[in-house]
């Protein structure tokens, strides 16, 4: 690593990561580190195919191609002792090792932190799982959404009449980002101390962070919250309103006195802005039927985008309820490159990838490599890093060790 005083455009350049990520959370962690310039070596094996969890549903290639970009790929058969030995040797040359197998799998393979840190004391290793590596439910099988059933989220998503609704599964992705935060914090510590360490990230505990405020609220009030529709404890209005078009909605929320006055002016009833009945969220909630009918009458005659423009110009927080195709056509998202079109010879069709949602002024990172074919970098890694010969790598490949 050079120390020439110039920041590289890739902030994590020089960090080498061995990535056993599977499904979503692990690969998200790897792809963010890779986008930011780390050399991320993804390990897979034809001999122990990662359960292709979506084989019955969506094609795995869609998922894999976006998540595995910027990676190197090696194939190691971990059922073979020689494969496990090579994995250990490679880990000795890495700064970080990430995995999200079920708790206990890495230990059975001799790839646990105790074994690896004996070879490489500076290693930062992270294990991610739903229950965490310890505790009575350590062997529980649970996918990301199910963790949000356990942590109290699902019990609160639904209509005021008690009808529950399945939330969007926004669980594995933030879990992967928490992995990024944990790994980089440990690397930052290592820069001071030289010490590596082991991180146990339980998705259950990670996702509970998003509910901390609800846990404390229930202790303060003694109440157990249930589904609440779009109601917000300290805002009113705070809802969606119908617009022109099929299943078209505008979200609108009033978070302050100024915003209420702005709404009243924009919708042609400025006197309501000074009406003492409506001076607080509670007061407005008490007149919800009157207020909601007034807003709906206005939104129903407009397209959601036009309503947003009109209300935002007046200082009111309002946005359209976009569908996913809508996100890909939104002018703001296009300008920020929230998603990018990728077309390279190695992809069998045109692809839409996530952009890099973090805009760092000096070291933005970048999309450099298309997703690899499995084992594409066996030579680069085992010859270049471990010092095997080309012939040895070929022999290991044909023996089913690097496969």
């Amino acid at each position: 690593m050079t120390m020439n005083g110039q920041a590289p455009a890739l902030p994590l350049e020089g960090i080498r990561v061995m990535d056993f990520g599977q499904v979503v959370a692990g690969p998200v962690l790897g792809h963010v580190l890779a986008d930011m310039g780390a050399e991320v070596i993804h390990v897979s094996s034809a001999a122990r195919p990662t359960p292709d969890l979506f084989r019955a549903d969506y094609p795995a290639w869609i998922r894999a191609q976006g998540l595995l970009r910027n990676r190197l790929s090696v194939t190691i058969n971990l059922r073979a002792e020689r494969g496990r030995e090579l994995a250990r040797q490679l880990a000795a040359h890495c700064d970080v090792l990430t995995e999200n197998f079920a708790p206990g799998v890495m230990a059975r393979l001799g790839l646990d932190y105790a074994s690896l840190s004996a070879l490489n004391p500076g290693l930062v290793m992270i294990s991610m799982s739903a229950p965490g590596q310890t505790g009575p439910l350590r062997d529980m099988v649970a996918y990301g959404p199910a963790v949000n059933a356990l942590d109290g989220l699902y019990s609160q998503v639904g209509y005021e009449d008690g009808e529950l609704a399945a939330p969007v599964s926004d669980d594995d992705h933030p879990s992967g980002i928490m992995g990024v935060l944990a790994v980089l914090s440990a690397l930052y510590w290592r820069a001071q101390s030289g010490e590596g360490q082991y991180i146990d990230l339980a998705f259950w505990e990670g996702l509970s962070q998003f509910l901390g405020h609800s846990y404390l609220e229930s202790q303060l009030t003694g109440c157990i919250p249930g589904p609440r529709g779009n109601a917000h404890p300290s805002m009113y209005p705070h809802d969606v309103y119908p617009c022109l078009g099929e299943d078209a909605w505008l979200s609108l929320a009033v978070g302050s006195e100024d915003e209420w006055k702005a709404l009243c002016t924009a919708l042609g009833r400025p006197h309501w802005g000074d009406d003492p009945r409506f001076a607080s969220a509670a007061g407005r909630r008490a007149a919800s039927a009157e207020i909601d009918a007034w807003i709906s009458d206005w939104t129903k005659t407009r397209y959601a985008y036009d309503a947003m423009a009109e209300l935002q110009a007046a200082g009111v927080a309002a946005t359209p309820v976009l569908s996913i195709p809508g996100v890909f056509a939104d002018p703001h998202d296009l300008e920020r490159r929230t998603s990018v079109n990728v077309s390279t010879p190695s992809l069998d069709r045109h692809q839409v990838f996530n952009g890099i949602p973090w805009h760092l002024s000096r070291t933005p990172g970048g999309l450099r490599l298309p997703p690899p074919r499995p084992g594409e970098h066996n030579r680069r890694v085992f010859v270049g890093i471990l010092g095997l010969t080309d012939e040895e790598v070929s022999a290991l490949e044909s023996d089913g060790v690097l496969a």
């Binding site: 926004d170 405020h213 969606v240 935002q312 195709p325 973090w358």
Partner: protein, 429 residues
């Protein structure tokens, strides 16, 4: 040029001292209520603080937050208090009015010493308040300046306002939640802001890693909406659309895809049924005693069932679930490695024996509100444990002490040595 501090730092933390991997790091949190929600910034600060950073919350002169502006209301007040108790644990609070000359001087003194300043200013707010990146970086070129706003610092919506529901709406979250015959509903708890805060903290660490080598800080521009969208491309929500061109709308208690992905009523509440692997579904059918219907061709293709007539299988399963409680079901299904989980309310979630044994739930005694159980840090570190150490401060309670330590005193010798001291270069063995 290396900036990691060793040993004593500008630590103004009360006891117990931080033990996490970021101890020694100084982060400031500045939220302007006019700019929109402060929750994203507060969550970013919380994560850094739990990891051991010294986090100083700069409090504006008037009550911050949406409840204050909306007038008194018991429901709102409890909610705001709870949010503060959770998000501000481990922090110190300094009252500071940057519109006054004294406040400005103090603020600039803090900025000169800080590693990180997290804020929620839109670029127009920053200009109005004379807090532009150029201005702040001139005070401290090593500063990592993290802006967490709904739409980010550039783009056609950069000056727009958005609360959490508005962010989730434009990020296509609402569109998928709720009954198809009714209106869309949001995910609760201001979750969109938490997305922004989490991404802000992780991106801040990227900038700090970069600074280890360059010695230079930088601007980190985080849009909560953009972060929330960033998971869509590899999610099941988009995969089917890319493949078929058909984008499914909300589907009530289920997600349209291979059966089951559904909320199922049982004797004392609901279970959440999700089985991604065929073996898991087969093990479940075995627990049911391999019923006749399961052998019928109509119910063998779980993808077809999930897309075309999931209600039929719901109806076949309902009586079996209706006879059993969540606890019975959970115990039985777990024994057979079937990943169906009970839907727990927040009180039940806080009573988990599993989390208890892991030491996740921690009691902190707040001087005003008494003992409260807090969720612990998001991850367990073997060598540098993250921790919830001190309850949320009263607004401004640390003003004098922190100001004296950071600005009023000579730079301690230990700090000068730390800054000059050579530190192990980050690199590969």
């Amino acid at each position: 040029v290396d900036d990691v501090r060793i040993g004593k730092d500008l630590d103004t933390s009360p006891d117990p001292p931080p033990t996490g991997p970021l101890r020694g790091l100084l982060a400031l949190e500045l939220a302007d209520p006019a700019a929109g929600s402060e929750i994203g910034v507060a969550f970013c600060g919380k994560l850094l603080g739990d990891l051991g950073a010294t986090v100083i919350k700069l409090e504006p002169p008037h009550p911050s937050g949406e409840a204050g502006a909306n007038g008194p209301d018991d429901l709102a007040a409890a909610s705001e208090t709870a949010r503060r108790l959770f998000l501000d644990a481990n922090k110190q609070s300094v009252a500071l009015d940057i519109s006054t000359e004294a406040g400005r001087t103090l603020f600039e003194g803090f900025v000169a010493r800080a590693d990180v300043l997290a804020h929620n200013l839109r670029s127009s707010d920053a200009t109005r308040l004379d807090l532009t990146a150029e201005r702040l970086q001139a005070l401290n070129p090593r500063l990592v300046l993290t802006a967490i706003t709904p739409f980010g610092q550039f783009g056609p919506y950069a000056d727009y306002k958005a609360h959490a529901i508005n962010i989730a709406a434009i990020a296509a979250i609402l569109y998928r939640i709720g009954d198809p015959r009714r209106h869309p509903i949001t995910t609760p708890f201001d979750r969109s802001h938490y997305w922004g805060g989490l991404n802000g903290a992780a991106a801040t660490m990227v900038a700090l890693m970069s600074r280890l080598r360059s010695g230079e800080g930088q601007v980190v521009d985080i849009s909560s909406a953009e972060c929330m969208m960033s998971f869509l491309n590899h999610s099941v929500y988009i995969a089917g659309w890319l493949q078929t061109g058909v984008f499914p709308t909300r589907a009530g208690r289920r997600l349209r895809g291979a059966y089951p992905w559904v909320i199922m009523p049982c004797k004392d509440g609901h279970m959440f049924l999700l089985a991604l692997q065929e073996e898991q579904w087969q093990r479940f059918l075995a627990v049911l005693g391999n019923p006749e219907w399961a052998r019928s061709d109509r119910y063998k293709d779980r993808l077809k069932v999930g897309h075309e007539y999931p209600e039929e299988v719901d109806a076949l399963l309902r009586p079996w679930f209706a006879e059993r409680t969540r606890a019975e079901l959970w115990e039985l299904l777990r024994r057979h490695r079937i990943p169906f989980q009970p839907i727990l309310n927040v009180r039940e979630a806080l009573e988990s024996a599993h989390l208890e044994e892991r030491g996740f739930l921690r009691e902190l005694v707040h001087p005003e509100h008494g003992p409260l159980r807090h969720p612990g840090p998001f991850a367990s570190f073997s060598r540098t444990p993250a921790a919830i150490r001190t309850p949320a401060p009263a607004p401004g309670q640390d003003t004098e002490r922190v100001s004296a330590t950071l600005v009023g005193l000579e730079e301690p010798d230990s700090l000068q040595q730390d800054r000059a001291g050579a530190v192990r270069e980050e690199g590969r063995r």
